[in-house]
């Protein structure tokens, strides 16, 4: 405040003689918006507190509601009161002819108001979910999160999840290889390969149009029905792997193609002009750079494939979802399916982090 006053004296000596001064930024609407959010948060806090507390007994309801409302009010009250104080100081400074100090205080007021807004925007959905889970005697919670059902189904569902993992890993590898072939086929130049390009485009168009569940159904039931020796005697797991590989090869192929196209032509010119043969240009120069760029989107495909392994339950393969459905039918409760959700989440998040790490490492290596 004092520093600002000195600054004012230095930069605006003409203030007294009617020099025009830009007023501070507005603090009214941020504060009003923050206040509205605060009121809403306190209200939903009251609801959530009561709803959660009822799990501990009916008598706790009001205590919980008031405690939660007070806690929310306190949390939001701190930035709100700071914002109001700064707003008051700003107005005083402006009236007192110290415009720089007025602007500084207005900036503080806005900062605290935005902090309150952020807190409110965080608390509103969190408290709403808490209310939803516990409302009506915690019926939602008891439908999806019953501890005894989770414990009872945990071992069998986790064992059955092995089928999902097997299918996912095998199909990821196969669909990558097939996708790479599709991308290379589609990138071949010259009239000689026009038909090859056409076949690749046709394949990608068809398999991107068809729902994975339909392809799984057709392959897993159709191939055994055909009665062709050897081919029709396979394991259902094998057919599921083939069906998902065929589907995801189309997506991966498009990803590879985008990656290959994204490498600037000058890289290829440089490699060619060093006398590196075409196959090696692709393998040593183009693909490594393309892979780095498509690692993120490619992992997106992997995760989508992983999730689609749950579709195999329609052809009778006992995967985690099938197993969970057996438990949910026996217990008349969906908590066993929650176990499936947790398993999928548990394998997906580390993969996302791994790719983030790999991409970041590649970036520092390339300095990009």
């Amino acid at each position: 405040m004092t520093a600002a006053k000195i600054l004012d004296a230095a930069v605006s000596p003409g203030m007294g003689e009617g020099a025009r001064q830009t007023p501070p930024l507005p603090t009214g609407w941020p504060l009003a918006f923050a206040a509205a959010l605060a009121v809403a948060s306190v209200g939903i806090g009251f609801l959530a507190g009561g709803s959660v507390a009822i799990l501990a007994g009916e008598s706790m309801r009001l205590v919980g509601a008031i405690a939660a409302a007070l806690a929310v009010a306190f949390a939001l009250g701190i930035p709100m009161s700071r914002a109001l104080r700064a707003r008051r100081l700003s107005a005083e400074a402006w009236r007192g002819g110290v415009p720089v100090a007025a602007r500084v205080e207005a900036a503080h007021a806005r900062h605290h108001a935005f902090t309150a807004m952020g807190l409110g925007l965080f608390l509103l959905p969190v408290l709403a979910v808490a209310t939803f889970l516990t409302i009506n005697d915690a019926v939602v919670y008891k439908t999806f999160l019953r501890g005894d059902v989770i414990l009872a189904s945990l071992v069998d569902v986790t064992k059955a999840f092995g089928a999902n993992l097997t299918i996912a890993v095998a199909a990821q590898v196969l669909s990558m290889l097939l996708g790479l072939l599709l991308a290379i086929g589609r990138s071949l130049q010259g009239s000689s390969f026009a038909l090859v390009r056409g076949v690749c485009i046709f394949y990608v168009d068809i398999f991107r149009s068809l729902p994975a569940i339909v392809i799984i159904y057709l392959v897993c039931f159709g191939v055994p029905l055909m009665g062709i020796p050897v081919l029709s005697d396979g394991d259902p797991m094998l057919y599921a792997i083939v069906a998902l590989s065929l589907t995801y090869a189309a997506y991966n192929g498009e990803q590879f193609r985008a990656g290959l196209k994204g490498i600037h032509h000058s890289q290829i010119s440089a490699a060619q002009s060093l006398g590196i043969p075409p196959g090696a240009v692709l393998r040593l120069i183009v693909l490594p750079q393309a892979m780095r760029r498509i690692a993120g989107p490619m992992l997106g495909n992997f995760i989508a494939l992983q999730k689609d392994t749950a579709l195999v339950n329609i052809v009778g393969i006992v995967d985690a979802f099938t197993q969970a459905k057996i438990y949910s039918a026996n217990y008349y409760n969906l908590s066993s399916v929650t176990v499936v959700c947790i398993l999928f989440i548990a394998i997906t998040i580390p993969q996302t982090r791994l790719v983030d790490y790999l991409v970041a490492r590649a970036d520092t290596k390339e300095g990009r």
Partner: protein, 249 residues
């Protein structure tokens, strides 16, 4: 007089209706330096790229040491090992270290084993003053350093002729000299070079012959003193006037 290392005879090339090269004859004697100058779009870079098969030609014939290297049926991979090229934008491979950039071609083409390739690469990097950066990655280097590595990478293949395509155009002014000094060294060691450049004073100093390209033709050619000192054609005079005004001469 000995046969020129490179002979261009009646070269023509069009992109659609645009005649980018319109009948060019040019001899490049062994151990000589020939510079192509001219405005953007005059066909300099395209002509260069025709010499190692990055572009094909529609008329005429190119010979390297008497052997035809243009037209159908040319083994471009083999040709490019004899004709090295350095680019305006360096085009180092960003996912490989400096040493990796230098050894990938000799190793994959079987020119030598990995150990020998590394020894040769380190010796060549020493020559271009980049040995201490052998483990660095291209993006950690300045433009001038990258271009020196790109030259070393090409020289390791021991080409018979070196094509330099505006190799200082993407460089900050203070980095131009380090690259030009290197090219001057190569010229003194007898490397046959064909270069396109906007550095007129450099072209004047280093070249045995300067060709002024205008609309796909060589409008004027001769020793640098003649082309720069006493240009005959009006277009050459006008081009040089504009270059001088821009402070490039």
């Amino acid at each position: 007089m000995a046969r020129p290392l490179i002979e261009l005879e009646g070269i023509g090339k069009s992109y659609g209706t645009f005649r980018v090269i319109d009948g060019i004859d040019l001899d490049i004697p062994r151990h000589s330096v020939v510079s192509l100058i001219g405005a953007s779009g005059s066909g300099k870079s395209t002509l260069l790229r025709c010499l190692n098969g990055l572009e094909d030609i529609q008329q005429g014939e190119i010979r390297l040491d008497g052997e035809v290297i243009s037209g159908l049926g040319i083994d471009h991979v083999a040709l490019r090992r004899r004709v090295g090229m350095v680019f305006q934008s360096y085009n180092l491979f960003p996912h490989m270290s400096v040493l990796g950039n230098c050894t990938v071609a000799p190793v994959i083409t079987g020119a030598c084993g990995r150990e020998e390739a590394e020894a040769r690469a380190l010796a060549m990097l020493e020559r271009v003053g980049m040995r201490d950066k052998a483990k660095a990655f291209p993006d950690q280097l300045s433009g001038g350093q990258q271009q020196r590595v790109a030259i070393a990478r090409t020289m390791i293949m021991q080409p018979e002729v070196l094509l330099l395509d505006e190799i200082t155009s993407a460089l900050d002014p203070e980095l131009v000299m380090e690259v030009l000094d290197l090219v001057r060294d190569l010229a003194q060691q007898g490397m046959t070079m064909l270069l396109t450049t906007h550095e007129m004073s450099f072209a004047r100093e280093i070249s045995d012959k300067v060709c002024f390209l205008y609309k796909g033709r060589i409008l004027e050619e001769g020793p640098p003193e003649q082309v720069f000192g006493a240009p005959r054609e009006a277009a050459t005079q006008s081009f040089l006037r504009r270059v001088t005004a821009a402070g490039r001469l």
